[in-house]
Symmetry: none
Subunit: 243 residues, 2 copies
């Protein structure tokens, strides 16, 4: 594509460059995490001044599509995943709705006795066996979040193994005959990623994460599971329904 466009389109040059680059990001020409061509190179490609390219990149950076690193280059940030926080929130559905491929990967599955806190959350006795399932979730190849889920090991035997096979908590619950469940509470905070999560999320140290603590209820309103998820802040944006 060249910018040898004599048509007075009424769209600024820098905007056309920005749009072109954004298309390149969306269609995979510039994959997430990759380095864009240098400003000079882009300027030559579009036959435009370097400052015009900088204007375009600044606009893209503002929107979170790219990130400039002095002395190194400008890098593609995966477009943020629009993540609605509703009572019926399913990772796989949300990612799929965004036209991306959801994937889950088991990190660990253990059984541990319920603390008083978890027991209260899940309506169990303290010390009751809990399955603790930790999973890494992707949209396409991009890690989006790490989620730790606790649920009754008595009610859901072998939940960890099932998750490993099915790669989706929704499917695990369906396996136990639970066709529908809903979000009872959602709490959102932010923090700096710790080293373990940073490595798994392919994230630099010192970067922010969004933390979502939630509890889901089954059809009768009984607590089903509770989870603690850490989202890469720069890869998602939560949409809160204000009804």
């Amino acid at each position: 594509m060249t910018m040898t466009d004599t048509t007075a389109s009424g769209v600024a040059l820098w905007r056309r460059v920005a749009d072109a680059i954004e298309r390149g990001i969306a269609d995979g020409t510039y994959p997430a995490g990759e380095r864009l061509p240098g400003e000079m190179e882009i300027a030559e490609a579009y036959r435009v001044n370097r400052h015009t390219v900088r204007r375009a990149l600044a606009a893209l950076a503002e929107r979170g599509f790219v990130r400039a690193e002095r002395g190194s280059g400008t890098y593609v940030e995966a477009p943020r995943l629009a993540y609605p926080l509703r009572s019926r929130t399913r990772f796989s559905e949300i990612v799929g709705a965004g036209g991306r491929e959801p994937r889950g990967q088991l990190i660990s599955a253990t059984i541990e006795p319920a603390t008083r806190e978890f027991a209260k959350l899940l309506g169990l006795k303290a010390g009751a066996p809990l399955a603790r399932i930790e999973g890494l979730r992707f949209a396409d190849q991009t890690p989006i979040c790490i989620g730790t889920t606790w649920l009754s090991a008595d009610r859901f035997p072998d939940a960890g193994a099932l998750y490993e096979r099915m790669r989706s908590m929704t499917k695990v619950l369906a396996h136990f005959g639970i066709r529908d469940y809903r979000r009872a509470s959602t709490r959102v905070t932010a923090a700096i990623v710790d080293a373990a999560d940073a490595a798994r999320l392919d994230l630099d140290l010192g970067r922010p994460i969004l933390i979502v603590d939630s509890t889901d209820l089954d059809g009768e309103g009984k607590p089903l599971l509770t989870s603690h998820s850490r989202f890469v802040a720069e890869r998602v944006e939560f949409l809160v329904e204000n009804t």
Copy 2:
């Protein structure tokens, strides 16, 4: 809407004004044929210089959306209906595809004996009874064309009454079990509208029309009907598939 837009959007002021007016035309704020507010009035409404408004109107005029008349005002030209001329050409489908509501209205339905010419076209004997159906077709409230259709009165009894009820030739044919048919020949010419058509098409005298003569065949390749349509030139543009 005001243009008190401090966001550096990268879209020229005149373009935003033009887009706003175009939306107004599309959504009926400025109905086809109506006079737009004066340039000064538009300029004040959008808090913009009159020359900027003129730039916007010039762009719209170039695209055929409006027509300026010195001393009088600027008038809305209905956006031209993109009308592909294919082997499978259905008025209702084409108009519907353009997001507009197709409508047919019967003008007259008579039975007349086939002239030698029509007999040859339709593969009938000279003098065989022909249904002659004249209809006015709209896209939304805008008259687009008047079509006169001839078809065998023996094969399609009461075609006129059916058309009056169904308001679509496609549906009339479907009623006789004809699920598909295709355009055999299409001939396009132009002329000046006559008084009778001008009145029905809500068109000034002296304005041009596009004349389409066509014959449709059924699945076995036998002639089904032939028609003579007069399109308001300024309301359609034909798209010819160059394969």
